[in-house]
Symmetry: C2
Subunit: 439 residues, 2 copies
């Protein structure tokens, strides 16, 4: 993509309404634009990151044996009356009356809806187990939306649901999702730590939040430092194999948000030099709730003896849009965003230091064409802005690699290759730079 | 995917509520499930088709130089008060009051929102031209939703918007979209004919609907039969090149929906043996409306002389979810759906005629593994249902190719390869079948 053609309305000044780094940087880097309180449009740069995160979430759900479907955003209120949550949910639920006076709502989550779908379609234990998910916009009418897309009203969530015959099977599904979440966040360059959690309005007997550590996080967290060195299962993992030992390992040490924190237990369990007391951002939450919804909504199957039994269920959420902000909170500096390669909107920023100079233009065009031919995503700054402005903008938007091409370097047969994360600069031949970026 | 694991709740009987083929077949093939009137969940089989259509639309928008972004579903009413459409839209607009009593709505389209975004971000003619699009769920509170997802309330639409300095530039954008639409529908196996159209609530001076011919269509259409033989531009087309001659050709002959039909003009323009009088389904609609929204919303840029001028705009819609139904209306028979390969949920249905028989299982597993290794999407019916049920289900769901593997054929070294579209069956070796499906 040529910057001269790209719709990228960046800002030089810090917007006054933004209190945290991710909100400030997303506005400045032209990623989002506010539509109304807590509701944002995703401009092309932000949209590309959102899609990259969504793709990783999808790949890891599919790898764990989840099947994707899509439930609508607008649900009938009657579904929620069946589960008893229609009144419970309070004012955070966006309630809507349609033209015929029917009570509807913008779904904040989908336990009721998926229970209706699955319970209405499946009759036998032979159709189990199943893991189903969707990635859909949700709405939560926050009383005071803030922090940009981190605590917005309209947000994109992946929510998966498991259906099993027995409690033991259902725990296996929970474990699969637990492990797939470790992989999901790891692929985004995040160290997410599972922490025992309250089940809140979802309900159930077992729940973990996945928390990434960031000083600007929304809640205080306390955990054992060894978690930071734990290995995450690799891509070849067999989800039909032993998940329990991985879950056991990842829940063996102390880790708690302030809600669940117990100072005495912490002091007893964690040596002083291993104690991490910082703040965290929730990027996922998984629940095992057994038959809570299936009993309320008569979602039953016949077991092998012909008895009707309620489905055992769990639900598993990842905050897809929130992750865009969470990654920035975990990875930025004073100059701007530092994207991990896996989610970066472009891998390379190509800077032409003298647009209009024949030799520089030709070298840039050649470099640009070769990266594109190799399917490396590149943003080419072909504008006539001054060099300082180009450097500042490229640092702000945080692409992993910058390639700086100018007439002086070209005379000596070199371009500059800069890593945004480390700040390291190298003078190399264009061929060597290409080999590094394509390889 | 193994059918024994796939969430595919098919129905043997015709559902009584479905009046047209696509609605009936989508329910029977386990593609959708109704949530409330005009609102559907997309089950895994339906979701795969929806995603395939979305992918083609996206690829063709990108090829034409459109940039993707994403606007939210919920918009503030004030935006629509600025354009004057808030009152005009009537009861089809789903109006919502949030917890603070602010008037919101579920967007039925996004002219106002994109005008606010673009007008608020861009100052100079140097930032033009731009083509922006998004693929987002929309809501239209139909008084009497019917025909399944063909006339639903919550629906997925691609809407693009063009921004230009002059009328002539803006017409060039219109032509680009016109041509890219020809390609988009052609890739889905559809013959879509552009017909001059009323501009309705969008407004403007120029508009075309893209209509596919189907006897179950919603409106009567009249057109010159030569359109069916016109060539569609190929993938290598240069969108910076001459689009006008293509548009001229595709608008040179008579084509009109009943709204615009003129019986005398039709009789004069079309020889009797070339007259096609049938019904049609609208699958796209493009509009040129100049400064209608930019003037109302003060979306201006400075031209090269420093004068502020309102942006020239157009908007370009494709009914993504509606296309799923439209393709079925255009391509089915008494036994079920006949998917064009480009949008099919799986390319191949592999039928094991004797699940449990060692040699048949082994041959099927081998075939299945080889197709997967070659990235050919395959649904493997590994269930123990009887053969007749398997054949009927495979015809119903309409995958382009069926491979039937049974113990008798295997003894002679053959499997049966069947084309769903033609019904032709061939007995070939497994290797020959693989070569045909992979090649």
């Amino acid at each position: 993509m040529r910057l001269s053609k790209f719709f990228l309305p960046t800002m030089k000044e810090n917007p006054s309404e933004a209190q945290i780094a991710s909100h400030r940087l997303m506005l400045r880097a032209g990623m989002i634009r506010q539509s109304s309180a807590g509701i944002y449009s995703w401009l092309p740069m932000g949209f590309k990151v959102l899609k990259n995160i969504e793709r990783i979430v999808r790949e890891e759900q599919d790898a764990a044996g989840c099947q994707e479907l899509l439930m609508p955003t607008i649900q009938p209120a009657d579904l929620w009356r069946q589960s008893g949550r229609y009144e419970d949910y309070g004012k955070e639920m966006l309630r809507i009356e349609d033209r015929h006076g029917r009570d509807m709502l913008y779904g904040p989550t989908n336990e009721e809806q998926i229970t209706e779908i699955f319970g209405g379609s499946v009759r036998s234990y032979r159709d189990l187990p199943k893991l189903l998910y969707h990635i859909q916009w949700k709405f939560r009418d926050e009383v005071r939306p803030r922090f940009g897309i981190m605590r917005g009203r309209e947000f994109l969530m992946k929510d998966a649901y498991s259906f099993d015959l027995t409690y033991e099977d259902s725990r296996r599904a929970y474990n699969k999702m637990f492990v797939s979440y470790l992989r999901t966040y790891d692929r985004m360059g995040l160290k997410a730590i599972p922490m025992a959690a309250d089940t809140g309005p979802i309900g159930g007997d077992l729940s973990h939040e996945f928390i990434i550590l960031a000083e600007t996080g929304e809640s205080e967290v306390f955990c054992h430092g060894d978690y930071l060195d734990f290995d995450v299962p690799d891509a070849g993992i067999d989800y039909e194999g032993d998940m329990q030992s991985i879950v056991d390992k990842w829940t063996s040490l102390y880790a708690a948000t302030d809600e669940k924190h117990d100072a005495d237990a912490y002091a007893a369990a964690v040596p002083e030099d291993k104690r991490i007391n910082t703040r965290g951002i929730e990027v996922g939450h998984i629940f095992h709730f057994g038959s809570k919804y299936s009993e309320a909504m008569n979602a039953e199957v016949q077991d092998s003896d012909g008895n009707s039994v309620p489905l055992q269920m769990g639900s598993y959420g990842v905050g897809v849009s929130r992750l865009v902000g969470a990654i920035i909170e975990a990875s930025h500096d004073d100059d701007g965003i530092i994207w991990p390669e896996s989610v970066a909107p472009f891998k390379v920023g190509l800077i032409n230091l003298r647009a209009g100079d024949e030799a520089t233009d030709a070298a840039c065009e050649d470099f640009y064409a070769k990266l594109q031919a190799a399917n490396v995503e590149v943003l080419y700054d072909d504008t006539d802005e001054r060099a300082g402005g180009k450097f500042a903008k490229m640092d702000l938007i945080g692409l992993p690699w910058q390639v700086v091409v100018g007439p002086r370097g070209l005379k000596n047969g070199i371009v500059e290759l800069k890593s945004r994360a480390t700040g390291e600069r190298e003078e190399v031949s264009p061929e060597a730079a290409l080999a590094r970026l394509i390889g």
